[in-house]
Amino acid sequence: MDTVRYLDDDGKPLRDIPLSEEELLRGYRALRRARHFDERALVLQRQGRLGVYPPFRGQEAAQVGVTLSLEKSDWLCPSYRETAAALTFGMPLSRLILNWRADPAGWRIPEGVNMIQFYIPIATQVPQAAGLAYAEKLKGNSAVAAVFIGDGGTSEGDFHEGLNFASVFDAPLLIVVQNNGWAISVPTHKQMKVQRVALKAQGYGIPGVTVDGNDLVAVWTVARKAAARARAGEGPTLIEALTYRVAPHTSSDDPGRYRTEDEAEAWKKRDPVARMRGCLVYLGLWDDEKEKALEEELEAEFVAGVDEADQAPEPKPWEIVEQVYAEMQPDQQAAWNYLRTGGEA
């Protein structure tokens, strides 16, 4: 199976680029914005101003490329690692900060952002995404859903059941597998016997495409085609984005226990952000000055986002028993009363 690529490792176009200049610039900006968030989030995490955080460094193009192919009325169904996708999709930056602070204010997804939570239980988002997508189709809308999962996640039964449902019902769904080489400490070749996740599509009678996940142009182009196909009623597409988890699994992980740095180093040379910048520079669309201006803008946005997050009200103890049901029931009411009054129910 071929891997779809548009850029070489330095960002030089290998063939005609099916994106406009505006799109290329918008794409780079989204990449750079995601990278900025990730770098600064890790700093916040080390300062104790964020909880456990799953970095996505190296996977920006895979997430951003897919998300750029979505409309506002589409659905985004991420796993825990898709902060870059969420940011690109329209989740306010301050909310993302709050989310990774495990703050209730961050867990409330704003109206108008059609995103489900960052899911922890692996693969469970896949059948749900199939249901979301199919519901839109039943309602006669043209919306699609994009669901993200990792190479490790493909081993779960829900990945299989979700794909089968999506294919049987021709649900307008993009199943995006970021094959980043690792599932915590387990390398992809111990996770599955196939070399390419995209081969799994053949078991469901749907197209499977492997794309260079560090090539934004390639990911965006492939995802855009899959979304158009889905909107046209032709059903789901499995997209395997070949990439690499350059960073630790989460801020609590120590990759030294299971892998050598060489591998990560090699992948850093194919950094998706640098590659895209290389492309823009090659096309004469970018220079150091623009980069500097962008960086300043992104830092200002980030600082403002953190400020906003810092102003979120302190979570209240009794919030933990709110929103269990649409109407509060007696058991929750009793707990609420107890927590509200600080004890002695």
């Binding site: 867990w107 939570q117 199939a130």
Partner: protein, 332 residues
């Protein structure tokens, strides 16, 4: 309101079928699906005739995958539909327990109210009709330990119809378990047309002062029969149909025990960790001062429901065992 309507004598499956029909008719957001639900109309015929009437978009067969069914249904509910999913037998809810425990009842809580899952999951449960292995399980205790879901188990055709319609209207996820033994075992008058019954209320189905029998689903019938036998011996038993297990109507239970001073809790699931334990615990917490004898549980034994048809009826509580328990609480 209900009293004014005409009624017809139908069984519990027919009552469920009527409710589904009315819900599909009334609310275009309602969709019905599951294994063999469409073309065949369900292995118990609960959706008989509904696919021809409402079309394949609203009533359809799914692949054979329960986690897929529940996950798919959760997604559809988030997108604004009102899915009613059938799981062929309650013992086949097990593959879906990850979707159920990880998502179904957490969605509203974790999204702070942005998303809710107005999903009804129906499944036949319980024993007594010599089904194959795993077809007679009673896993309600597990469902009742899932935060954020409601659990309803009706005991008659009339209650089933009205409660199912309430469940479909409810904004929260609802499990709706139907006792297989009652499907065709009991016929009763059922009001015509659309009506709902309150979720979260237990019902006194027979009044009496000697002791309280607390049961739900297929065990209500057993308790009523036991009460009839006892009445012939001059012992008047009160029988309570819990009906909604979660949220549990503790006050109605406590009130009855305050009157009778004695209670027997009856359920057909495995005794240890069954939902009857929660009922007993609530009585122990809130009704101890009224209790004149220790509460007694009559339940399935601590063993799998026997796949051995000839002796399966020794597993499920019957009137004999209920009456022995009554004697125990009366003679303490």
């Amino acid at each position: 309101m209900i009293a004014e309507r005409g009624t017809r004598v139908i069984n519990l499956v027919q009552a469920v079928n009527e409710a589904l029909d009315l819900a599909l008719e009334r609310d275009p957001r309602v969709v019905l699906f599951g294994e063999d639900v469409g073309k065949m109309g369900g292995v118990f015929r609960a959706s008989d005739g509904l696919q021809p009437k409402y079309g394949e978009k609203r009533v359809f067969d799914t692949p054979l995958a329960e986690s897929g069914i529940v996950g798919f249904a959760i997604g559809m509910a988030m997108a604004g539909l009102r899915p009613v999913a059938e799981i062929q037998f309650a013992g086949f809810l097990y593959p879906a327990l990850d979707q159920i425990l990880s998502h179904l009842g957490r969605m509203r809580h974790r999204t702070r109210g942005r998303f809710t899952i107005p999903l009804v999951i129906r499944a036949p449960y319980g024993g007594g009709v010599k089904t194959p292995e795993q077809h007679a399980d009673s896993p309600e205790a597990i469902l009742c330990h899932v935060p954020g879901v409601k659990v309803i188990i009706p005991s008659s055709p009339e209650r089933a119809k009205g409660l199912l319609l309430s469940a479909i209207e409810d904004p929260d996820p609802v499990f709706f378990l139907e006792a297989i033994k009652l499907y065709r075992g009991v016929k009763a008058e059922v009001p015509e047309g659309y009506y709902t019954l309150p979720i979260g209320k237990a019902r006194v189905v027979r009044e009496g002062g000697a002791a309280t029998l607390i049961a739900y689903g297929g065990m209500v019938e057993v308790c009523q029969k036991a009460a009839e036998v006892a009445a012939r011996e001059g012992v008047e038993l009160e029988v309570i149909d819990v009906e909604t297990l979660v949220p549990l109507d503790t006050p109605t239970l406590v009130e009855s025990v305050a009157k009778t001073g004695r209670a027997v809790v009856v359920y057909e699931a495995m005794r240890t960790g069954g939902f009857g334990a929660e009922i007993v615990a609530r009585l122990a917490e809130e009704a101890t001062d009224y209790l004149e004898a220790p509460v007694v549980r009559v339940a399935g034994w601590d063993a799998p429901y026997p796949p051995f048809s000839a002796v399966e009826n020794f597993y499920r509580p019957d009137t004999k065992r209920v009456l022995e328990a009554v004697r125990k609480v009366l003679t303490h």
